[in-house]
Symmetry: C2
Subunit: 212 residues, 2 copies
Amino acid sequence: MPKKVDHEARRQEISEALWRLASARGLEGASLRDVAAEAGISLGRLQHYFRSKDEMLLFALRHINRLAGDRIRERIEALPGEPTPREVLRACLSGMLPLDERSRVGVLVGAAYFTRAAYDETLRAEAKNGIPQLRTLFADQLRRAAERGELPPERATEDEAMLLIGMVDGLSTYVLLDVYDGRTALRMLDGHLARLFEVNGAAAGAPVAGGG
Amino acid sequence: MPKKVDHEARRQEISEALWRLASARGLEGASLRDVAAEAGISLGRLQHYFRSKDEMLLFALRHINRLAGDRIRERIEALPGEPTPREVLRACLSGMLPLDERSRVGVLVGAAYFTRAAYDETLRAEAKNGIPQLRTLFADQLRRAAERGELPPERATEDEAMLLIGMVDGLSTYVLLDVYDGRTALRMLDGHLARLFEVNGAAAGAPVAGGG
DNA sequence: ACTTTCACAAGTCGCTTGTACCGTTATAAC
DNA sequence: GTTATAACGGTACAAGCGACTTGTGAAAGT
């Protein structure tokens, strides 16, 4: 038997090259030759690791979804001490906004995939994948906040959790379109959270200062 | 001089063929030949009305934006009697959701353009175009509601208006992804409006029943 | 009647695309 | 040392792309 190569690692490298191109020129603007060139390998080699373009796109989508999940989890664990539900929520939501280069690429790639997912059933199934998890995570935090008296109980719903996800998505959209910048989006997010966590007209939960 | 043809009308017909394809297969899946076939004309004729593909895409974007604006205005005017600010807001916002086939195509096309706009400056400038108008319209309604005592004054801000736009955008995204359906999105939108229009823990403004 | 010019249809051009396939090298097993 | 096979690099190919050119018929102006 000849030498063995870590296929998973090679595939991830190629995926990352694809993301760089997709965030700069869109998914359709990234041909196999372009991706190979960006990854610094030959077209033949790329084809050795992905039998077709669709296979590459699907792998890259799964990979970026996995990284996005890791990122969320990292941000939660990075919170100091015993974080309040509100702090957890803010960390997750602000982590989904395109505030730095890394998350900007992530959101751009996600948008590119979304457009395809709208008419590609395979991609759509994959893109929807993480949403229920995220909704559950957020709903859990809302319930926890309600138990602590930091949130009116009637606001601790799955709908509210879903609304939060949708809102961050909408904010991200307009940041990418340069309608406003990341700081403004963050301010609007904080405004929404502040009103969400209002109990009898007063702020509740731990307000958080600064940071992305 | 030979016979004269209404160029504007021809261009609109071609644009509509493009939308049908774009909503079904995405913008990149619509070649000039495909659009011509969908419009039932020859490639040569299409090129007679659009010198380049970019010109066609730009015209179609402007056209769909104009129709979207018309739709909003129609919905406001269709409201019976002297509509409250809340009724106006709900009519506009629900009109932006992909609830029927027409608006579904509109949102799909908008999404396809958005993906391109992320890395195409010309399209981005055009796509941003209607936003400030919409924000102003919404902010005006919020202020009017605050004056009528139906909304706490501190919520009558430009940020709140922008947040509404972003939220509908996010909801639309997930409707297209089949995460939930249009009715659910509408329920979530109504939930948000209900809380927005809460004064001292009680509902204010005119609650609206049913309808899209 | 003649000319001009619009409104097309059809074909061609150079280029890029995804995919298939061939040839070569290197390495591990026997 | 032979063989089998993973790991490539390189090339060829059919299809499709946008852009461009050419040809034709007809109607309006003179």
